[in-house]
């Protein structure tokens, strides 16, 4: 029945807004690069010896593709793993808070406290007891908890009372109601939380460069240290593209699982 229902619906185009966002980011990057060149007022001589982009770094240097791949993969892993763990932990926290309402405030306070810890400090503390990788994952996970937990609770709370009343009245048990009514209806809000957490984490991964990780951001720091703008730019653009790509994927997922939210009143 689901297949039949979705096939009867009109195809919806991706909103044009997405394209505008991508164009805006590219324009921003171009502006920053241009501004840098102007501010530094580099002489033509220096410009010639130290251009913003050395294209041969990208296209001639043999190790570059391998480095980009390794750093990109690390960045993706350091984003996806903490968000996935964060989603799991947040589900538990949200479930506890929804079941025992009085625990909701303490849970949010706790998650909010974790969120306020400066990431650099957290890395420093964790790395004394754990491997670099574990430290990064733990730290990055803590930052996802507040956003995701809050969105799960808000999503479930936002399910219309009438739908819950009907679910009970029709004889669904607690689990059926959760699986068939509450979670599906809360899904748009939950996925928005996951998306915001993901994009935030893409940025935070960069800080883990202090413990020799950092993914694509490693290139940025390395570029700074060596005054090698090309590497710096490649790292920045790579991070931005990764954030946009993950944002698009999750928006696509939201779009795909909520066909009902797209239909309007006739």
């Amino acid at each position: 029945m689901t297949a039949a229902a979705s096939s009867t619906g009109p195809m919806h185009r991706w909103p044009a807004k997405r394209v505008v966002e991508v164009v805006a980011v590219v324009a921003l990057v171009a502006f920053v690069l241009w501004a840098r060149a102007r501010i530094h007022g580099l002489s033509e001589e220096t410009q010639a010896t130290n251009p913003i982009i050395r294209w041969e770094y990208l296209f001639k240097r043999q190790r570059t593709p391998g480095e980009l791949w390794t750093r990109g993969k690390q960045h993706l892993e350091l984003t996806v793993v903490p968000v996935a763990i964060g989603l799991g932990l947040s589900s538990v926290l949200a479930a506890i808070g929804l079941r025992f309402r009085w625990l909701l405030a303490p849970i949010f306070t706790f998650a909010g406290f974790l969120y306020t810890i400066p990431s650099l400090a957290l890395f420093a503390v964790l790395v004394t007891y754990n491997s670099n990788w574990t430290s990064a994952v733990i730290a990055l996970t803590t930052y996802t908890l507040l956003i995701i937990t809050r969105n799960i609770v808000e999503g479930i709370d936002g399910v219309p009372q009438a739908a819950l009343d009907a679910a009970d009245g029709l004889g669904m048990n607690r689990l059926q109601r959760l699986a068939k009514v509450e979670i599906p209806l809360a899904l748009p809000v939950i996925l928005t939380g996951v998306r915001v957490a993901t994009v935030t984490t893409v940025g935070l991964v960069g800080i883990s460069a202090v413990i020799q990780l950092g993914g694509l951001a490693y290139l940025i720091f390395d570029g700074f240290n060596r005054s090698f703008t090309t590497e710096l730019v490649v790292g920045s653009v790579g991070m931005i593209l990764l954030a946009i790509a993950l944002d698009l994927v999750l928006r696509g997922a939201e779009w795909a699982v909520t066909p009902w939210a797209r239909r309007t009143v006739r």
């Binding site: 029945m1 739908a163 004889g171 009143v265």
Partner: protein
């Protein structure tokens, strides 16, 4: 009584933190295949009473039985799956299509796909949902259509009992009137034991076989058939609640065929002029009705008969005015009254099922009917 009867015995509900009960000890029997309406002002516990039947609310004391079985003896989900439930806000699942919404309970109780599909199609036909709508989502339907889907969903697994909590409260008056008629037509086909909560006395009187009037605190003031309620309110509260236009409301409840239908100032066309005069004299009417072969032909002013006088050979010669006011036997008294008020003869002609003349209705006969 056989069939599905719902009995409330000493049912009480006191909500935590409240000193006074929301529902005082209540005894009520909801008859098999009947529509029992619970009505009363806000705070009279009508919804609470309804929700205690499918245990969405648990009584503080007392026993509720369906078919003689205590509702607490069955598991919560099993009990509720066997009771249709319709609420004011409809509560369709917005993320499920119309067909999926209707299929909710059959799916819960594990029917196979083919059976569910057939049942959904059957219900769509029963409540008047076009098959094309089955693939749509609730947000794409009008309020009236959503309410029909709500009813179809409640009836899906063919439960013997249907609980309706202000089912037509959220739709506009025109749609409400249509849905009310549809519910009655539906009930004539499915014969469920229906318990319906409303705050609208007109709805109660129209839909109910029995009406329970509740006062604040869940006190039962009167439990009677609608006509009884209007004709003989048990006390001032009920009289006040049913309102000032009790007689007007009762007009909608009685039908023309319930009255003593006189033959009226009517003669066959073949009758003699003297006979016609005799009928007019007896009834004191200013109009004479003519029939032929049991069919009503029309009216002739008594004055014309007098003018024609002795020179008249037979009634055939008179010019007959076609009747303006004709009502069917099963029309309501309200419809009959409307016609009488607009008819120059102050008389409505009753037509039988086979089209033959069935007598006349006048203001007098309606008044007589209500006095009974």
């Amino acid at each position: 009584m056989t069939g599905t009867t719902i009995e409330l015995r000493g049912v009480t509900k006191t909500f935590p933190g409240s000193a006074t009960p929301a529902v005082a000890p209540l005894d009520l029997t909801m008859g098999d295949g009947e529509i029992t309406v619970l009505i009363g002002p806000s705070g009279c516990g009508k919804t609470t009473t309804l929700r205690m039947i499918n245990r969405l609310t648990n009584p503080t004391a007392g026993v509720i039985t369906i078919d003689g079985t205590d509702v607490r003896e069955r598991s919560l989900t099993e009990l509720r799956r066997g009771i249709g439930y319709v609420i004011q806000q409809i509560g369709l699942f917005p993320h499920r299509t119309v067909a999926q919404n209707i299929a909710t309970v059959p799916k819960l109780v594990g029917w196979d796909r083919a059976r569910i599909k057939a049942r959904v199609a059957e219900l769509a036909e029963l409540v008047g949902i076009e098959p094309a709508m089955l693939g749509r989502y609730p947000a794409e339907l009008s309020g009236g259509q959503q309410q029909r889907v709500g009813v179809a969903r409640a009836l899906a697994a063919d439960p013997p009992v249907l609980l309706m909590d202000e089912p037509f409260g959220a739709v506009d008056p025109i749609v409400r009137a249509r849905l009310q008629r549809e519910l009655l037509a539906l009930q004539a086909r499915v014969h469920k034991t229906i318990v319906l909560v409303t705050h609208d006395i007109d709805e109660a009187v129209l839909l109910g076989d029995k009406v329970a009037v509740l006062n604040v605190g869940g006190i039962l003031e009167q439990f009677a058939a609608p006509d009884d309620l209007l004709a003989h309110p048990a006390n001032e509260f009920v009289a006040d609640f049913v309102g000032h236009e009790r007689s007007i409301k009762r007009l909608s409840l009685s039908r023309v065929e319930d009255l003593d239908l006189g033959t009226g100032p009517v003669v066959d066309r073949s009758a003699s002029v003297d006979e016609a005069h005799a009928v007019l004299a007896r009834t004191g009417s200013t109009w004479l009705g003519l029939t032929a072969d049991q069919q009503f032909l029309g009216w002739v002013p008594a004055a014309e008969l007098a003018v024609a006088g002795a020179g008249l050979d037979g009634l055939d010669a008179l010019e007959v005015r076609p009747p303006a006011a004709q009502v069917h036997r099963d029309a309501t008294l309200r419809e009959a009254l409307e016609l009488i008020l607009t008819s120059s003869s102050s008389t409505a002609v009753v037509v039988n099922d086979d089209g033959t003349y069935g007598g006349t209705v006048t203001l007098e006969s309606i008044r007589g009917g209500l006095a009974r």
